[in-house]
Amino acid sequence: MDTDQYLEMFIEESKEHLQSCNEHLLELEKNPQDLGIVNEIFRSAHTLKGMSATMGYEDIADLTHMMENVLDAIRNSRIRVTTEILDVVFQAVDYLEEMVIDIASGGTGKKDVRELVESLNAIETGKNAIISAVAETAVTSVLAEENGTVEPLLYDGYEMTVITQSAEQGFNAFEITVQLRDDCLLKAARVFMVFEILEKSGEIVKSEPKVEQLENEEFDDMFTVALITKEDASILKTKVMKVSEIETVTVMPITIHNQSKENEVEAAQNTGTVTTILDEAEAKKDPTEQKDKKNTGAHSGNKTIRVNIDRLDILMNLFEELVIDRGRLQSIATDIQNPELTETVERITRISGDLQTIILNMRMIPIETVFNRFPKMVRQLARDLDKKIALEIIGAETELDRTVIDEIGDPLVHLIRNALDHGIESPAERIAKGKPEEGTVTLRAYHSGNHVFIELEDDGAGVNRQRVLAKAIKSGIVSEEMAETMTDRQVAELILASGFSTAEKISDVSGRGVGLDVVKNTIESLGGYITIESKEGQGSLFQVQLPLTLSIISVMLVELESEVFAIPLTSIIETAIIKTSEIMSAHNQKVIDFRGNIIPLVNLSEIFEMPGTADVSDGHQSVVIVRKGDKLAGLVVDSFIGQQEIVLKSLGNYLQSVFAISGATILGNGQVALIIDCNALIK
């Protein structure tokens, strides 16, 4: 089979499934009792197995197959989840990742997986029936249904009626459970063949999983069909067995006791929880868990397609042209005053507004896509380093332009490795210092002004001034005289210098002093900055500031004479209208009393050299109170227009760093409005 055309899709999807495995494994480590998570992992692994077998990557298929066996044992409660087992599974996922990456870079995806397969095998066969506490609960019995124990199907009222009525008319009702062979490649085709046979013999009332899922191969090796027929069980069984690649067929008469569960099923189906039929008992026991499952259920239902980012750029540019023409249409409509035209233009305006939102959002992705690989990395590193470290992630939903997301991953990896290796002390040291045994590393992302900030904070040892300086002098980065006068911050930033490493011994974890200067260079090449704040003994804060090369921000549009400016909402505290008489003077600086604070007034008309000079204030002034850190200032404007979401555009390389202007945006009417950089206006 020629599989080249599917290769890209295979790689992308494999990566997604592996990522999902990783996430769920981490979750599982926290809640080892939650078999729902195991199911998620199982599903990902299973899909991966199917895909890789089809594509002919046998090593991946073998490994996933073994992984699947282990997972299956876990969800059947034959094995209890332990860190050791998870380690092996994590390693398996790592191997799989490596293989997928190898394939992506043109390799064959071959790797010696024997050892790992053996250890997985050992786990699986070492199933000396350690029944976990969960085994008794309802969850297991429901889950078991999926796993292969033949459990009766559940029917809703209509299906039940059909079955009872046909029984009255002398029909037989059977549940036929078909187990496909493990190595079955064309599952959907086999399902189709089975259905065709059954439909000839009678009427199919229900199938589990649903027909659509079966067609999309969204099931494991087994499915169950409820059939009303005049034929008897053994004939049906022989007929179905004629389809190739089928392991076993079980035909069971449908019994009426199912009805008792009918209501619960309906309830479960109404909430949209299709993947796992929840027992009512469980739903009552743990409503939050049910909610979680509902979420994951909805998530897996999302359909996505992959679009090249260039096409989105083109779409965006084309759309902006449309917006300009829309603006023209609007003004023409205003001139002509034809009600029909006006109405149509209004409709176009509304629709294109919606369109704009969609197009803009398409280009943005949450930084989560970068962050979500860190928990696993931190877990692994902490174990390697024999430290106890908790990673806290805040603001993973912060949206960033795709281009920045692609670049920011590696620098962050370096920073985290550095924090783990050099920042956080060993548990013994921490206890000696009176700190909690477990170190905390916080990864934070947020928008501020026209920048995205990504901060990495640790409560570790911080930067040791003496040691850093000694090292820097030794490697000739600074002279002794310079060292005397350097501030703590400058010293801390020395560790970003090239050829610098204070670690006494070189570790595998954070390199040989080539790490942090690479980080600095990468970030600067993205047009960002990195700063370090560090308190010896208390920890360090690495702050990465990145420009939003293209990002949607909320702004307040204000008018100055006839020009429109945008002030980022993140800088604004509030807007106010003050009486001219309230303006005071202090050392040639106009100030106002704002809620008990004296804050300086900045006259934007003067700073922006507005051509007009007429002071048209009628005794009142519109003021936007902005902040930089904890400093405030009031910007005097002529009027407020309103709040709007805008696309940030750079002024280009010709106009480099214009004072107090951080960029521009294109307004709905096609005009360019400048974005005020409040940070530059506050000293």
């Binding site: 540019n317 002024l651 010709y654 480099q656 107090a660 202007i661 360019v672 400048l674 000293k683």
Partner: protein, 155 residues
């Protein structure tokens, strides 16, 4: 064949400023636009008229008259903006009129004479004589040197 032609001739866009005609290589010209609404950018040199929205790209606009220290005039129907693409940026040039596209023989281009009008000599790369026309060839790299750190330290 085409290579030979390329060596002998050069396609240029001819435009007018005051009563002089100038030429720039057609390869770097992206488009010629009528005057669009320009947004002023404060704290930039006077010859930077501002920025326009050129099909979704914010493009700076330079008034060539002011750049060359000539008397500036009101824009009229003939005024055009020539969008040129330099190494890593695009700039629009305001000219009085864009007249023509010409093929000029390379050997008709001479180094600039000592005095050519009032334009700073750095801006001129040569002078081409085509028939009765005298075309001033511009050196756009110096004309459009990026504007850096505009009065950033003033405040």
């Amino acid at each position: 064949m085409t290579d030979k032609l390329d060596q002998k001739e050069m396609k240029v866009i001819v435009f007018q400023l005051m009563d002089m005609e100038y030429a720039i290589n057609v390869d770097i010209v992206q488009s010629i636009e009528r005057v669009l609404s320009i947004t002023r950018v404060p704290k930039t040199p006077a010859y930077v008229k501002g920025v326009i929205n050129l099909r979704g790209i914010v493009t700076p606009i330079v008034d060539l008259r002011e750049r060359f220290g000539l008397v500036s005039t009101e824009m009229d129907d003939h005024t055009r903006i020539i969008i040129v693409t330099l190494e890593d940026y695009e700039v629009g040039l305001i000219v009085d009129a864009a007249n023509d596209v010409l093929d000029i023989p390379l050997d008709s281009i001479e180094p600039q004479p000592e005095v050519v009008g009032s334009i700073e000599s750095d801006f001129v790369s040569g002078v081409a004589k085509v028939g009765k026309h005298l075309l001033v060839m511009l050196n756009l790299d110096t004309v459009l040197e990026p504007v850096k750190r505009v009065t950033a330290d003033e405040y």
